[in-house]
């Protein structure tokens, strides 16, 4: 009897849970958005669409991409919300994304929309390369701040620069592909040859160079603006430098996974993901968002970031990725000894 009494509430709550689940659609959403932002994103979305429950599956960009590719023949995700556009292009070329023009797509900056018609993905916010410069350590070493990418190749900085390895970090690849686009293939590689002489080592993640610069482990870290602003807010003696030639960027983007069983709910989510409200939500952490005229300046973000963003050719980046990485590896990765 006692046991029955104890079990009764469990049964009731189980019943309640199942009936609730029946009313709501659950979406499995793969994402690489920072962990601390996820809850806020889901809550803001649920203000408008309380009937759709988001089940987040979050990991770093590389791992989410690897996971999606590995599940190619048996997709688990309904929607990808917040993954690098370069990764989405990779998925698109495998035929894994559902083409869909979300309502109001024309309001977005065309840079932030896939070129196909109908588009397969739409951008949320940009993720812009920048240089994190530790003022305290640089002063100790007698360095002056670099103003451009070319400056960074100056022998003065020998052994004082860290950047991500493009073979293991999306940010690293973004830098390399932007240099190749800005300087042209030949001069781009020549530039990297010179820069390589200054690099202390290449890291596996894109945020690590900035965090290392923040901790004074290295004076200069090639990373992205978002990370720099966060470390600066945490009290690190950092300057965030936007090199004058322009900076590479990638965006966090949204797409529907082809073959999803919840297509309607997925469309609702993607429609919502490009609304003004959503863009304002992205703006809390990111200074550049997909809808023009929305973004408010974000504290500690460097000025002039939007103008410095190059006209990034994502298709070039995706289609030449393998070739570029192989070339990079043969040039810089075969040196086994740390400098």
């Amino acid at each position: 009897m006692l046991r029955k009494l104890l079990l009764a509430p469990v049964a009731v709550s189980l019943l309640a849970a199942t009936s609730l689940a029946g009313a709501a659609t659950e979406l499995t959403v793969y994402t690489a958005v920072e962990a601390e932002d996820l809850k806020r994103y889901a809550e803001t979305f649920n203000e408008d669409h309380p009937d759709i429950t988001i089940n987040w599956v979050r990991d770093s960009t590389g791992i989410v991409t690897a996971k999606l590719l590995a599940e190619k023949n048996n997709p688990q995700a309904d929607v990808v919300w917040g993954l690098a556009a370069t990764s989405l292009l990779l998925l698109k070329s495998e035929g894994m994304l559902e083409a869909y023009a979300p309502a109001g797509v024309e309001k977005l900056d065309p840079k932030f929309v896939d070129k196909s018609d109908p588009p397969t993905w739409t951008g949320m916010d940009a993720w812009v390369a920048s240089v994190c410069y530790n003022t305290v350590e640089s002063e100790k070493l007698g360095l002056s701040p670099p103003a451009s990418w070319k400056d960074l190749a100056d022998p003065m900085y020998k052994g004082h620069v860290i950047m991500p390895n493009p073979n293991s970090s999306g940010t690293g690849f973004l830098d390399v592909s932007s240099w190749l686009q800005m300087f042209g293939e030949e001069d781009g590689w020549k530039y990297m040859d010179a820069l390589h002489e200054n690099i202390a080592r290449y890291t596996h993640s894109g945020s690590k160079p900035c965090k290392l610069a923040a901790a004074g482990e290295i004076p200069i870290g090639v990373s992205f603006a978002f990370r720099g602003a966060k470390s600066k807010a945490a009290g690190a003696p950092l300057d965030i430098i936007v090199p004058s030639e322009g900076v590479g960027w990638d965006m966090e983007a949204t797409a529907i996974v082809a073959g999803t069983a919840n297509l309607d709910a997925a469309k609702t989510l993607v429609d919502w993901s490009i609304t003004e409200k959503a863009n304002k939500m992205y703006n809390v952490g990111y200074a550049v968002v997909g809808m023009p005229g929305i973004a408010q300046p974000v504290k500690y973000f460097p000025e002039g970031l939007l103008d410095a963003m190059i006209d990034n050719d994502f298709e070039f980046a995706a289609n030449n990725r393998k070739r570029i990485l192989a070339e990079w590896q043969s040039r810089y990765d075969s040196k086994s000894e740390a400098k």
């Binding site: 770093s60 590995a70 048996n74 292009l89 035929g95 070129k115 004074g216 289609n319 086994s336």
Partner: protein, 673 residues
């Protein structure tokens, strides 16, 4: 043949005596087969899946694409032509360049040397089979329908490869110097670390067993500390000590800790207890009579050491060397944290799979990594077999006699090694408490707010404990029962031999390789077991398999001490084997069972390599969190999480100690006279 036997030769040969297979025997065979199947599913089949992945290649099949070019007016008058025949006349793409990876792309314009995107000419492209795939821009197109495009769009056409099998991946691997260099690097650090660790551990073990140095039990405890932490923790400590902002960076004299120096120092730390255990076991088996003989023959101490001590311990030393070599060459955490630009095989696998999503190449590097591991393992096995019993029944245990000078030298030596071990741990704890190294040295618990960082937050820590407990319970049951069946069942020798062999295999398989093999095997939609992918179950299965061998050997050793008569007596008393198992075998072997479970728990808490490919967002682990937080640059929180693992493992060890004392008192009273 003796005469007595000759006399019997005339008698007709009787029937062969055949043991009757009892019901119990049948049961035991069934169970053994079941556990055998478990090992095959969790070890042999994933490895096979990985091998087949390494020979799965991607190649541009030019026979599958057909082009047609229009004249300037846009009419398609010329006949369609195959890409392969275009290539034959042009030689645009070499046969080697046609080998590619799953992500390969080949621009269609390669086959049209006079191509201009401004030309008014139009192009048509189609596949000759349904498998043919190409991209127009970034949109995937397949099939045999013609696609007509203008020249400006045609420059955006990329051909995609088709899957086939062959050794192409291996030839690509061996022709890429950056990848090949890793083999040399891996061997280099493994050999250096082995030499240093074995020498240090030998000295330490020698001091504890052959001298009257003080504080022996304290030193013994300290030597075991590194087993309780993940291998990346010493890397983090070394960065705080010798990094560019390190406390002792002057000691590096302008050199850098990132690279082989850091890897070797860290490897010495985390392999030390393994070497120490093996060597001190070897040294503890000694016969004092040899030493007495040496003294009476007026042999110098150095000579005695060379001709008595060293030969006596040589199998232990060789075994320790191979164990350390294997641990270093297969370790992934340490080089990831402190390796800098120094590429090693284990990190290459990670870079290929996570960084480039090139699963095939990851499988190739895995196959390459298995080779030295299996080699070291095999040699070690052969050496072990040669070992003969040194300890005869008449041996007299060696009792060291005090020697003031030597003892104080040994004390300094042991103290130095202990300072190295305790120092690294202490540095980690200090780093975890400092607010913002090196600019704000106030102490705080900020770095323990794991929920603010990558890596899964505190949930990871509790997941790890859950994994540790599950692995300990499930693993101990499977391993001990398996060992029991192998040891105590009758007949069925082939099956038992086979089982023994499979049980030894996990030792030779690096964790990274096992983890990757699990992806290939369990993540395939055709596999009915694919439901466990991404769950705690697969982590438990993987960890049990990864640490199977040592647990199995511990169980077998304990079971061998039990006379087989027990089963025979029970059978004649008409008692079931099950009853003997639960009433006699388990109680008698309880110390070994406890040892196995603590071994599995501690390793489940610290392992990184096997589970790094298998955890899912719901099953993040503390050890992986250390790796990911370090990767994101949150080094202090990584140290903090590492220390949480240390304290948990230390706590578990202490609990284990008390529990085994209590249980031993109850169940092992018969051992006392």
């Amino acid at each position: 043949m003796n005469p007595a036997a000759k006399g019997k030769l005339s008698l007709p040969a009787g029937r062969d005596i055949k043991a009757v297979v009892s019901r119990d025997d049948h049961m035991m065979r069934w169970w053994m087969a079941l556990i055998g199947v478990y090992l095959i599913v969790t070890l042999a089949m994933p490895l096979y899946a990985m091998l087949s992945k390494s020979v799965s290649t991607y190649r541009f099949d030019l026979q599958q694409f057909e082009f047609q070019v229009s004249d300037e007016a846009g009419d398609f008058t010329s006949p369609p032509v195959l890409a392969s025949s275009l290539n034959q006349t042009l030689g645009a793409v070499s046969a080697q360049a046609l080998n590619t990876s799953a992500d390969g792309r080949l621009a269609a314009t390669e086959f049209f040397p006079d191509f201009s995107f401004r030309s008014p000419v139009n192009y048509r492209i189609r596949g000759t089979s349904e498998q043919a795939a190409y991209l127009v821009g970034s949109s995937l197109t397949t099939g045999t329908e013609w696609t007509e495009i203008d020249s400006n769009t045609f420059r955006r056409v990329q051909l995609r490869p088709v899957a086939s099998t062959g050794l192409g991946n291996f030839s690509t691997y061996f022709s890429t110097p950056a990848l090949m260099g890793s083999i040399r690097n891996s061997l280099y650090i493994a050999v250096i670390s082995t030499l240093i660790t074995v020498t240090l551990a030998f000295g330490f073990a020698y001091a504890l067993s052959r001298s009257c140095v003080r504080y022996k039990s304290t030193f013994r405890l300290i030597a075991m500390i590194p087993i309780l932490v993940p291998s990346l923790l010493p890397g983090i400590a070394l960065i705080y000590l010798f990094g560019n902002q390190g406390m002792l960076k002057e000691l590096m004299f302008g050199g850098t800790i990132y690279g082989p120096t850091g890897i070797v120092l860290g490897s010495v730390f985390f392999t030390f207890p393994h070497a120490f255990l093996i060597i001190s076991t070897a040294l503890s088996i000694s016969d004092a009579r040899y030493y007495e003989a040496a003294v009476s023959l007026r042999s110098s101490p150095w000579r005695t050491f060379r001709v008595v001590t060293l030969p006596g311990a040589r199998y232990g030393i060789i075994s320790a060397a191979f164990v350390v070599f294997n641990l270093v060459i297969t370790d992934f955490g340490l080089p990831k944290v402190i390796g800098g630009q120094f590429n090693v095989l284990a990190v290459d696998i990670y870079k290929q799979v996570i960084g480039q999503q090139n699963f095939e190449m990851g499988a190739v590097v895995s196959v390459v990594l298995i080779i030295p591991a299996i080699l070291a393992f095999t040699i070690d096995r052969i050496v072990q077999r040669k070992q003969v019993a040194l300890l005869s029944a008449r041996a007299v245990p060696y009792q060291p006699s005090p020697d003031k000078k030597a003892d104080s030298i040994w004390l300094v030596y042991c103290a130095m090694v202990s300072v190295f071990i305790v120092g690294l741990i202490a540095v980690c704890q200090y780093a975890a408490l400092v607010k913002f190294w090196p600019y704000n040295l106030t102490l705080s618990l900020n770095n323990y707010q794991f929920d603010q960082m990558d890596g899964g937050g505190w949930a990871s820590y509790f997941n790890s404990i859950k994994l540790g407990l599950l692995t300990a319970v499930v693993g101990t049951c499977i391993v001990f029962f398996g060992a029991y069946l192998v040891e105590k069942s009758n007949g069925f020798n082939t099956g038992r031999g086979l089982f023994q062999m499979v049980a030894m295999l996990p030792m030779a398989i690096p964790g990274m390789v096992l983890g990757l093999a699990y992806i290939f095997f369990f993540n395939s939609p055709a596999n009915p077991l694919n439901v466990i992918y991404g769950t705690m179950t697969i982590l438990v299965v993987c960890t049990v398999t990864h640490f199977y061998t040592v647990s199995h050997l511990t169980a077998v050793t304990a079971l061998k001490q039990m006379d087989r008569e027990f089963e025979a007596v029970a059978a004649s008393l008409k008692q079931s084997a099950l009853k003997v198992f639960t009433r006699v075998t388990i109680p008698v072997c309880l110390p070994a069972i406890l040892d196995i479970s603590i071994y599995l728990f501690v390793n489940a808490m610290t392992t990184v390599s096997a589970v790094v490919f298998l955890y899912s967002p719901k099953t993040t682990l503390a050890s992986i969190a250390v790796l990911n937080m370090d990767d994101a640059g949150d080094i202090a929180p990584a140290a903090a999480m590492g220390m949480m693992i240390f304290y948990t493992n230390a706590g578990a060890r202490i609990l284990h100690l008390f529990a085994s004392r209590k249980i031993l008192k109850r169940t092992q009273a018969w051992r006392q006279r």
